[in-house]
């Protein structure tokens, strides 16, 4: 395999205070599936000066082309979803009191909702999901999970008229750094969005980089499906964040179902419930990591899905894979990731893109 050397224009991207500020802005912004406006604005502002072509498609995806130089350039699509899980107000229960019924958007566990503050609508009107006081709660009730049916969003009597049915609500969590870790809402998938922004800014010239900042991943990979059709790539890579279930077991036994582990580097996908990764891309990523001395881990094959699930079966089929930054407590109000994993993910992807040539597609998909 030929190695195309990095030109001065494509110096490797680094994560410094500037990139952390961008991640902070991205995670503090709200973009519940179907209303990705706030994140889209940040993305456009960041990538416009670097793109050969940028447009917003009919679903709201931001599609970006950054063309390389020379012959034999692979068209490589990189997708990161802009949307996050959250809520939608569905019924105004007590018009004077600011109390609303709501439903969830995406896979939110109802065990993390009571006692949480929210931002509602485009103006981030503050609200809360309360809970019945423990003093008025029986032991039986405390043994029963809280259901969406029993929970309400409360914006207070004074703001009753400032929100309405159909408004989205997101967790009101502000980004922070704690020791070696990053703590924020929506690290799934603002880590991917931030990574993709850096890759657009530092695109290697051996490929045509086709970046898709997608919508509606959390409600069925819908943005990626049409984005992959429009961009018509030869290879597609989803950049996402995947659960690190690396907590200790109650009895001290080894946790054998951790999915990924924090601090062990980017998670390379082999199989999830939506996609069987293209083995050539698995090999390419592993060889890149080993050649560059970048730590990596395999995501334990299992459930879950990324934009790759929609991309790999678009048109006549697109060899696809996913790479994720591991994150604990995704789809809850606060998630935790390691800065080192993000840095290593960006380094792995950039190095892997530089090493990509059309030769990769000239071997059989499942050649030994």
């Amino acid at each position: 395999m030929t190695t195309i050397h990095d030109s001065p224009k494509t110096r490797p991207p680094r994560i410094t205070a500037e990139q952390l500020r961008l991640l902070e802005n991205l995670t503090n912004a709200c973009a519940v599936s179907g209303d990705e406006n706030e994140v889209r604005k940040i993305v456009l502002q960041e990538i416009k000066p670097f793109a050969d072509e940028v447009y917003i498609d009919h679903l709201g995806n931001v599609l970006v082309k950054r063309l390389g130089k020379g012959e034999d350039r692979l068209r490589v699509m990189l997708a990161a979803h802009m949307d996050e899980v959250g809520f939608m107000l569905t019924f105004n229960e007590d018009k004077g009191d600011g109390i609303f019924r709501f439903d969830i958007v995406g896979g939110v566990s109802t065990s993390h909702l009571a006692g949480q503050p929210l931002w509602i609508g485009r103006e981030h009107v503050p609200g809360v999901i309360g809970a019945k006081p423990v003093h008025l709660t029986t032991g039986d009730e405390q043994g029963t999970p809280l259901s969406i049916e029993s929970l309400r969003i409360d914006v207070g009597p004074g703001n009753s008229g400032k929100v309405k049915i159909g408004d989205r609500a997101a967790f009101a969590t502000r980004f922070s750094r704690v020791g070696p870790s990053l703590r924020a809402k929506a690290l799934d998938d603002r880590l991917g969005v931030a990574t993709l922004i850096e890759l657009v800014k530092h695109a290697p010239q051996n490929i045509d980089l086709l970046a898709a900042f997608t919508v509606q991943e959390e409600v069925g990979l819908r943005g990626a499906k049409v984005a992959a059709y429009s961009l018509d790539p030869q290879i597609a890579i989803a950049l996402d964040s995947t659960p690190a279930n690396d907590l200790p077991a109650w009895d001290g036994s080894e946790n054998e179902r951790y999915n990924t582990r924090l601090g062990s580097g980017p998670a390379i996908y082999l199989a999830d419930s939506a996609t069987l990764s293209d083995p050539r891309l698995v090999r390419h990523l592993v060889e890149t990591a080993e050649a560059q001395g970048i730590p990596y881990q395999f995501r334990q094959p299992g459930g879950g899905g990324t934009d790759a699930g929609a991309m790999h079966k678009q048109r006549q089929g697109i060899p696809s894979i996913s790479v994720s930054v591991p994150g604990r407590y995704l789809h809850t109000p606060v998630s935790i990731a390691r800065l080192s994993d993000w840095k290593n993910t960006l380094a792995l992807l950039h190095s892997a893109l530089i090493r990509l040539t059309p030769a990769i597609l000239q071997v059989e998909r499942d050649a030994p």
């Binding site: 229960e93 109390i99 065990s111 993390h112 909702l113 009571a114 006692g115 949480q116 503050p117 503050p126 809360v128 999901i129 309360g130 809970a131 019945k132 006081p133 423990v134 003093h135 008025l136 709660t137 405390q142 043994g143 029963t144 999970p145 809280l146 029993s150 929970l151 309400r152 409360d154 914006v155 207070g156 009597p157 004074g158 703001n159 400032k162 009101a172 969590t173 922070s176 704690v178 020791g179 070696p180 870790s181 703590r183 279930n245 907590l247 200790p248 077991a249 109650w250 009895d251 946790n255 179902r257 601090g263 604990r328 407590y329 809850t332 109000p333 606060v334 935790i336």
Partner: protein, 352 residues
């Protein structure tokens, strides 16, 4: 005049779990000192602030008790990168997953209460809500970084920052019962420059959420003629039974039941009517669940009253309260203190 909103936001941002009230007590002391004649701290950590009356000694005295302690967590074990915790005060474990806390270790550490996946939990807790003893706290640190900083017995406070809503509404943890501390502060403000016949003891009590140790010992030590506990009560909110709750923003409640002296109740109620301060009557057939329970039976017994401020979502990190109700409660207390004459206690009889 104390600007109550920023003061209360500071109060709930300070730690002060039951039995460990010093950080919040220092803020209260700083606010109260200029408003009173004398400030001391009791053996169990309650703050005693005396505003002297002008009648001849021995002067009757009114004790206003608002507990300053907050509910929270205490570390029971350390497992690699994670902490195990149990409660201080009453908590429904269902409101904990996803809550941010401050772990008061050798230094203050940001923590997050987390729920392990089902396969990591004991078989009897794999469905339904996860019990508190199976939840963990993640500080984001590696075990090597965490180990020297945290020990068993360290405390953890809720860390959700307070925020305002339109219409003078404040949201935050520990408004139970720092809101009542703010009400007593407003009362002291209202009493500035006024000549009272009675002494007034403003007391920020400790350990209410655990054992009422502050209220019972302060009442014994200060031996007031009358006592009023100020606390929060249940505001009407989703899921809470209507017959046990009171509208937020429609004034404080006046407690009525065995913990309350009916004569004092009547005097406060008549005063509220006369001043046109809105209120609701809160009947409490048994234990009021407040300092009033302890005050009433201190020493040889003290005629006791209870004023409460309606609050939504009690003992969660998003308690919600109307600032208006806090100032109403404060004004009612001030007017009650000012209304007390030297005959009041003699007129307080059990014969109707």
């Amino acid at each position: 005049m104390t600007d109550l909103l920023p003061f209360l936001k500071n109060l709930i941002s300070a730690s002060g779990l039951s039995g460990h009230e010093t950080p919040v007590r220092q803020l209260i002391e700083a606010a109260w000192r200029p408003l009173v004649d004398e400030v001391t701290v009791s053996r169990v950590g309650s703050l005693h602030a005396l505003k002297r009356g002008i009648s001849a000694e021995p002067r009757p005295s009114l004790l206003l008790a608002a507990h300053m302690d907050a509910i929270g967590l205490i570390v029971t074990g350390i497992n690699g990168e994670f902490l195990r915790v149990t409660e201080i005060g009453g908590l429904d474990a269902r409101v904990l997953p996803g809550q941010i806390v401050t772990v008061h270790g050798r230094e203050d550490l940001p923590g997050l209460i987390v729920q392990p996946s089902a396969h990591l939990l004991p078989p009897d807790n794999r469905s339904g809500p996860v019990a508190l003893h199976n939840l963990l706290v993640d500080t984001g640190l590696t075990s090597r970084e965490l180990d020297p900083l945290v020990r068993v017995g360290d405390l953890a406070s809720f860390a959700q920052p307070p925020f305002e809503m339109a219409g003078d509404v404040l949201v935050g943890h520990s408004l139970d019962n720092r809101a009542s501390v703010a009400a007593v502060t407003h009362c002291l403000d209202e009493l500035q420059g006024r000549k009272l016949l009675w002494d007034v003891w403003a007391v920020a009590t400790s350990q209410e959420e655990k054992s009422f140790a502050g209220a019972s010992t302060s009442a014994y030590q200060l031996r007031p003629t009358l006592a009023v506990a100020i606390d929060v009560t249940f505001a009407s909110s989703p899921g809470s039974p209507g017959h046990k709750t009171f509208d937020m923003g429609k004034g404080p409640t006046l407690g009525y039941g065995p913990n309350v002296h009916p004569g004092v109740y009547k005097a406060v109620k008549n005063l509220a009517d006369r001043l046109e301060i809105p209120y609701a009557v809160e009947v409490m057939p048994r234990h009021s669940g407040t300092d009033a329970y302890a005050l009433q039976v201190a020493a040889e017994g003290i005629p006791t009253m209870l004023v409460s401020i309606p609050l939504r979502y009690m003992h969660t990190a998003v308690e919600m309260i109307s600032m208006k109700d806090i100032t109403r409660a404060g004004r009612l207390l001030a007017e009650f203190a000012a209304s007390l004459d030297l005959e009041f206690i003699d007129n307080l009889t059990w014969e109707d």
